[in-house]
């Protein structure tokens, strides 16, 4: 399986569609089996050093933050992150020594990650938000690439593996981006059943595309619901179970970000993250919030507390549309 291609200077993750199809045929179980497990079990079973990781949405909104912290806790190495909204995840994964390459996206924010790029501690490739979303769609759609009429004329072309080709129908120039089939996708959802059927309320980046395009899919869910719920209301299913490898029950899994209609963002904590500038500050933060606690539950108990969680829940007053 060709996972990384190098042409000229630019390396990019790519897998021929037939290889991914064979993986889906041979390795993705279609059986409805209970997949509920702990974050520790899920990350240790399904994330390996050197993996390509994507997630949906971001550290501010419905991001799989508890899973990201578990990756850091398990000190995974040499990850390549496909980061549409690279907000605090990239800084934390880089600061923890887990990530060495990032496909962006939007590289933000706080000064830590910018500094890490300047110092060459992490490599960044510039696919843009639209380009990454399209790569994910190509990966999900089983095609080797997809064309688009942006990126053209910009310097992003030189620091990604996007190419300009002649449109075979008109001969006019068009940009193409290669399919992306990540090793693992993390998706935080409002509701899931034990088999992996899942619902997201509100908008998303590329939740279904990522789930279909990735070799392994780990869901973290605010709430575990009865499987019958999905059969009764299929319009609301975001992801069907047979795409999913593990389901982690993770209330407040998006913390310190917001979970739409469930709890609001903890701005004080986010400010603390934004304030991280030095290596000392980063290691101190990681020690306090990740290494010194056994798991997400202990983190919530010791670092957030029931009272704060109640406040954040109470602030989530806008529920119209989220059901």
């Amino acid at each position: 399986m060709t996972k990384i291609r190098k042409e000229g200077e630019i390396e990019y993750r790519f897998e021929p569609p037939d290889d991914f199809r064979a993986f889906v045929r041979d390795r993705k179980s279609r059986k409805a089996e209970p997949k509920l497990c702990s974050a520790k079990e899920a990350v240790s079973a399904f994330v390996a050093d050197g993996d390509y990781l994507v997630y949906d949405f971001s550290s501010l909104t419905r991001g799989p933050q508890s899973l990201i912290r578990e990756v850091i806790r398990q000190r995974k190495k040499d990850l390549w992150v496909g980061a549409e909204f690279t907000l605090h995840e990239s800084a934390l994964l880089t600061g923890a020594g887990c990530a060495t390459r990032i496909d962006v996206g939007f590289l933000g924010y706080g000064s830590y990650i910018g500094q890490a790029v300047c110092e060459g501690r992490v490599r960044v490739y510039e696919w843009t938000n639209g380009g990454l979303a399209l790569r994910m769609l190509a990966g999900a759609r089983g095609v080797p690439f997809l064309p688009t009429r942006d990126l053209l004329g910009s310097d992003n072309m030189g620091v990604s593996a996007a190419k300009v080709i002649a449109d075979p129908y008109t001969g006019l120039p068009v940009a193409v981006v290669p399919a992306l089939n990540p090793d693992v996708a993390f998706i935080h959802v409002h509701q899931a059943d034990v088999f992996g059927d899942a619902r997201i309320f509100g908008t998303n980046l590329f939740a279904l595309e990522a789930a279909m395009a990735s070799h392994r899919v780990i869901l973290s869910a605010e709430e575990i619901v009865d499987p019958e719920e999905f059969r009764k209301d299929p319009m609301r299913t975001t992801i069907p179970f047979f795409l999913v490898d593990a389901v982690v029950h993770a209330p407040f899994g998006a913390y310190p970000g917001a979970m739409p209609a469930r709890y609001e963002i903890d701005l004080a904590h986010v400010d603390r993250l934004n304030g991280i500038r030095s290596e000392d500050q980063m290691q101190k933060y990681l020690h306090e919030t990740v290494y010194s606690v056994a798991d997400h539950e202990e983190f919530l108990d010791q670092q957030v507390g029931a009272r704060r969680m109640r406040e954040l829940r109470a602030r989530a007053t806008i529920i119209e549309g989220y059901r």
């Binding site: 939007f106 590289l107 310097d155 620091v159």
Partner: protein, 268 residues
Amino acid sequence: MPRTVEFTDTEFMIAQGARLLEDGKTFFVGWGIPQVVAILGQKLYVPDVIQLFEFGAIGPQSVLPFVRGTMGGPQNTFRSLQWLNMNWAFAYSASGYMDFGMLGALQVDPYGNINSTFLGGTYERPERRFAGSGGGNQVASHCWKTIIVIKHEGRRFVPKVEFLTSPGYLTGPGAREKAGLPAGTGPYRVVTSKALFGFDEETKRMTLLAVLRGLDPDDVVKDMGFRPLMAKEIDEIHPPTDEELRLLREEIDPSRFLIAGEPMSAVI
């Protein structure tokens, strides 16, 4: 009686941006200042503008006050017409449905090309690294009219951007089309903390259209890293109105997170 109005450079840029929108049109809203422009515009001038966010909110009517740190959350996806995802959001712009887009910039050149990626050094080892494109490249590539918002500092206006993150008119007339970008699109206005620029139809070069009341056009352009064209008549831009400032400060951003900036004043 003349009186002095006090405001921040950011408030002035937001007010200018809001006045540029057209009612009944679509507006691709980027994160940060464009969000506030959209809210102020919709409240005061263009009630039927349709906002669209790259994270899949189609036609939302943002909840006030603006809460920092929210992106794709209930505040800026409230009462949308439709909730989708990023591939569909960019489908709306790529298929020609987005009339206006608005983007910030670190640097801009005479053709409206935008750098938002890095300053100094090389791409691999920059001196200062910033967010990069995000969805900005798509907005600048697809929208019919892109509005650039940039603080009026001479060093931000450069003959050539260090990194071309989002396309303006590239190297001049016809260059966008030759590159394969959608025909008839491109930068429309550059809103700064002192002035308003457009682009000359023939040469596609940035052209000074108006300056804030009380400023001298020659002073406004003298620090810029390139000499813009000058419109035959340079208009005067009214400073933020009482109503614009009241809405911004009391209803939209009472925590002054987004509207903070350098103090400015003008006599009206």
